[in-house]
């Protein structure tokens, strides 16, 4: 059974409460699609709608109400959905987002955290339409950018064929060799052989954790319990990351092919793409690709005539960074409050509906068809200095040619910044870059001469993660950049564990100059102590990563920190309120 059709499908506007509920009630993970259907139909989530959903899906009313308030994008006042939401991510703020927010204030505009278009700022969501531009007059709906051409004839994996015209359609994808790897897998290989091929390729999670993909698949293949699931983590919420958007927009069938292969390898017959809210056009593209694949017999009861059945569903998030954490994502899909789960048990045995589940990032899954088609050894050989494969880097900020670049693992950062992306603008120098979006904190000084692979970056107390790199030139106030970063983490902290809930808030206040000691030594002491406890005791990656911001700020920019602390009290920090530009209430 198919449930495609974007959740903002306008036909939902004509549906009654009961029709919406009946439409989704028998589907796995019905809560998010039901809420989106009501949201789209009414333009907000009314009290009556919430009561109807509570009754229809048998979710306690208080629980449902609380869960809805967790998400940034569910409007609770009439007309809320149509109010513009302006990206106030780190790059967009430098590209005029706050001015745009003021311009659109009469229309009820609010801010939203980085919405993954740092290569084409500033995105504004209006209803289910993404506009982009640096001022209200410039705002226009246009496709998000394709990855820039590869330089130096560098060998690519996931971007190998992505720039071919019409590649996002099934005929275009097949023309470029798509689904050949899957055909070979389901017809000529056993599931074990598929897993062995992925093992040999050295493919590891490209969402940030870097867990070996073959090992994950084997764990699910060997786990008891059915039905098993393949979940594509497309909740690309990390600021400065927009690679998954490009992959899904321009190569949706690669993601689908990778998911089917993963299903075949592990014995899973259902797949879910958990897509972040801020990519409405991507949802349409994915839904269309799924329809094409179903019509062509690639998805459905017998994948390419093999007898292996696989169905694919899209589940759209509603605005919560933490849902990119795989166990929060699973809770969100199940309709629960999206707190991260305690681990163990891990999703490979207790995932969606407590059953064995593969959770893989978009880029990881999109690599699989290429590995199946060209061979594990080919993929493994793409990296440099003994590292396997490639990594897509989302590069943005103060750089001449921002965009998604697929680099060999182990590629020198310096070459990416200067040779490929053109360096900073004339007369400027690069002061610092972020790693892993914001989660890896800053690299600066000599550490900019690092190679792009986990061991090298971890040796510099950071990590590559999902591969977002934001560039800040020497005109930027790094304390202010750090403040905006920490404000993001505070805004997105789920509130489950104490060190992250309180720590992100206290660090934000200190970086804003709103609270904390006036003496530098005491200030540094407090910030370091909070960071140490967050890193060592937080329950998930958000809380353990956030203090890398303050840690690296104090390491690379001690003078800026001293100036900031001593200036406190002397200068009111106008506009640095910790309420911030992400105000939730419309």
């Amino acid at each position: 059974m198919t449930d495609q059709g974007a959740t903002h499908d306008r036909s939902a506007r004509r549906m009654t409460d009961q029709e919406i509920l009946a439409r989704w009630n028998e589907e796995p993970g019905p809560l998010l699609p039901v809420l989106h259907a009501f949201h789209a139909r009414d333009g907000y989530l009314s009290e009556d709608a919430i009561r109807a959903v509570s009754q229809g899906l048998r979710i306690p009313l208080a629980d449902l109400y609380g869960t809805i308030t967790f998400y940034h994008h569910f409007a609770r006042v009439p007309g809320g959905l149509d109010c513009p939401r302006v990206c106030t991510g780190p790059v967009c703020v430098q590209e005029g987002a706050l001015g745009l927010l003021r311009e659109l204030a009469p229309e009820g505009a609010t801010g939203m955290p980085c919405s993954g278009r740092c290569d084409d700022p500033v995105p504004v969501l209006r209803g289910h339409l993404t506009l982009a531009g640096r001022s209200a007059a410039e705002l226009v709906a246009r496709p998000a950018p394709l990855p820039p051409p590869a330089l130096d004839g560098a060998a690519e994996c996931v971007f190998r064929t992505i720039r071919e015209p019409g590649h996002a359609t099934l005929p275009g994808y097949r023309r470029d060799g798509g689904y050949e790897g899957l055909a070979c897998a389901v017809r000529e290989m056993t599931p074990t052989q598929v897993i062995e091929a992925i093992d040999r390729s050295g493919l590891a999670g490209r969402g940030g954790a870097g867990f070996p993909t073959g090992r994950k698949w084997r764990a699910v293949a060997e786990a008891d319990g059915t039905p098993k699931s393949i979940v594509c983590n497309a909740d690309e919420g990390e600021p400065g990351c927009f690679k998954d958007r490009a992959l899904m927009d321009y190569d949706p069938h690669a993601v689908i092919e990778g998911m089917i292969a993963s299903g075949y390898a592990t014995g899973a017959h259902r797949g879910f793409i958990y897509l972040r809210y801020e990519y409405p056009e991507t949802e349409d593209i994915l839904a269309e690709a799924i329809r094409e694949a179903e019509d062509a017999g690639i998805l459905g009861p017998s994948v390419m005539g093999s007898g292996f059945a696989f169905d694919l569903h899209i589940r759209r998030g509603a605005g919560a960074y933490i849902c990119g954490e795989e166990t929060s994502l699973l809770n969100s899909m199940e309709g629960k409050h999206p707190f991260p789960r305690n681990r163990p048990p891990f999703p490979v045995t207790h995932g969606f509906e407590d059953l064995p589940t593969v959770v893989n990032n978009v880029e990881t899954l999109a690599s699989v068809p290429h590995i199946l088609a060209l061979g594990a050894e080919w993929y493994a050989g793409l990296g440099m200095n003994g590292h396997a494969g490639t990594k897509v880097i989302s590069l943005s900020g103060d750089i001449l040619r921002p965009g998604n670049y697929e680099v060999p693992m182990g590629f020198p950062l310096e070459r990416l910044l200067y040779d490929w992306a053109g360096g900073p603008s004339e007369g400027r120098t690069i002061q610092a870059v972020t790693m892993a979006g914001l989660s890896g904190g800053f690299l600066a000084g000599d550490d900019l001469f690092v190679t792009l692979d986990e061991p090298a970056i971890r040796a510099r107390k950071s990590f590559l993660g999902a591969g977002g790199i934001m560039v800040f030139d020497d005109s930027r106030d790094m304390v202010e950049v750090a403040h905006a970063a920490m404000e993001f983490f505070a805004h997105e902290s789920c509130g489950k564990c104490f060190p992250c809930r309180i720590g992100t808030q206290r660090l934000t206040e200190r970086l804003a100059g709103e609270a904390g000691p006036d003496a530098v030594v005491a200030w540094v002491d407090e910030v370091a102590d909070i960071g140490y406890t967050m890193k060592e005791t937080s329950a998930c990656g958000l809380g353990t990563a956030a203090p890398l911001i303050t840690e690296s700020l104090m390491r690379y920019f001690p003078e800026a920190v001293s100036r900031h602390v001593t200036a406190r009290g002397a200068l009111p920090m106008a506009g640095r309120g910790s309420g911030g530009p992400h105000g939730t209430e419309p």
């Binding site: 208080a62 629980d63 609380g66 409050h337 305690n342 104490f498 309180i502």
Partner: protein
């Protein structure tokens, strides 16, 4: 510490101890006399892993692990009080102290209300570090007479939310928003009376900070004297919930659920928890009353009243037989009175027509 020789063991602070498969590190450690601090733990609830105060060092692990959610594994080496985890616990307590309006809470607030204060003292966390915005917004507008909702003192441990769902099955309380702006709430931010709340008081008595309070008990905070606890069984129905009656001098000032009550494990209902006003109510009869020739009730002595009652009972029995009498004991009477009543009807009249209004 003894081990049974065959079962799996862990090394706890250098000592080999046995554990039951499935047991968490926190449970095993507590069973072996370790005092690991925690604020989000309630033994009746699923492990949550929120407060992180119970972190312990496990040999081979990169970072400390939350002992409440980590299961024992054979051979595990655990340090429950290393300098490293004690540093984190102190920092966490300082952070908690910084988000709340106050940390000294009246003991009448609830059963668990001193947990936070005790840990603030234990870790000398009243240092004034980490100052900043306070969390939580209290609901003094909620007009209910039972539960104080003073969320200024909330630390977002979600014990109230979880006890309401997991123990009581009411799902009346939930978490609104996220991060530092997290707020304990009910549907549509309303008052408890319009919500699914049944006023069982479970949330109050698991709250470790006094954010939720027993308004009935707090109304007696000016009553002089030391608080005495007396264990008894709630008379309101046949379940047999254990309760501790709180008294000062001769005055009943509150009821605490007994966490070790075999029938209730700390659970109570609104009546057992809050409906004790009648005991000292001014309208309560303080003397026997006998109806006079004028048809009105008049104060009388015990002898006169009992003679009059006996006379009536005897008359009925003579005229209609022993089964014409039916005794109903009151749920508001003590158990001893109910027992005596039963004796009186069975032994005195020779009939089994005896019941209790609590026979739900």
């Amino acid at each position: 510490m003894s081990t049974n020789g065959t079962g799996p063991t862990i090394v706890l602070d250098g000592e080999k101890v046995a554990f039951t498969p499935g047991e968490t590190v926190y449970e095993a450690a507590t069973r072996h006399g370790k005092d690991i601090p925690t604020l989000c733990y309630d033994p009746r609830l699923e492990p949550f892993g929120g407060c992180r105060l119970c972190v312990v060092e496990v040999e081979g692990a990169r970072a400390p692990v939350a002992s409440c959610t980590a299961r024992c594994q054979a051979g595990m080496e655990v340090r429950t009080r290393s300098a490293r985890v004690e540093v984190h616990r102190r920092t966490l307590m300082e952070m908690l102290a910084s988000e709340n309006r106050e940390v000294d809470v009246d003991e009448l607030t609830s059963l668990a209300s001193q947990e936070m204060t005790e840990l603030v003292d234990r870790y000398e966390a009243r240092t004034g570090r980490f100052q900043g915005r306070k969390s939580g917004a209290s609901r003094p507008d909620d007009p209910n007479p039972f539960i104080m909702r003073d969320y200024d003192n909330c630390i977002s441990c979600y014990r109230c939310v979880r006890v309401c769902a997991e123990q009581e099955g009411d799902y009346a309380i939930s978490v609104k928003g996220r991060g530092f702006d997290t707020q304990i709430t009910v549907e549509f931010d309303g008052h408890l009376k319009e919500s699914a709340c049944t006023f069982c008081g479970q949330c109050v008595h698991t709250c470790p900070t006094g954010a939720l309070g027993d308004l009935k008990a707090l109304a007696h905070r000016e009553v002089p004297g030391d608080t005495k606890k007396t264990r008894t069984v709630c008379p309101y129905c046949g379940v047999g919930c254990s309760v501790d009656l709180l008294t000062r001098g001769n005055q009943l000032i509150g009821v605490h659920p007994a966490m070790d009550g075999p029938a209730n494990l700390g659970a109570l209902c609104v009546k057992g928890q809050f409906a004790f006003d009648f005991v000292q109510h001014p309208d309560r009869l303080a003397h026997p009353l006998v109806r006079g020739e004028d048809g009105e009730l008049h104060e009388a002595g015990w002898d006169e009243a009992l003679d009059r009652a006996a006379e009536g009972f005897l008359r009925v029995r003579e005229r209609y037989g022993r089964h014409a009498v039916y005794g109903v004991a009151s749920g508001r009477a003590p158990h001893e009175a109910a027992y005596t009543m039963q004796k009186f009807i069975r032994g005195g009249f020779g009939t089994n027509h005896i019941d209790n209004c609590s026979r739900a």
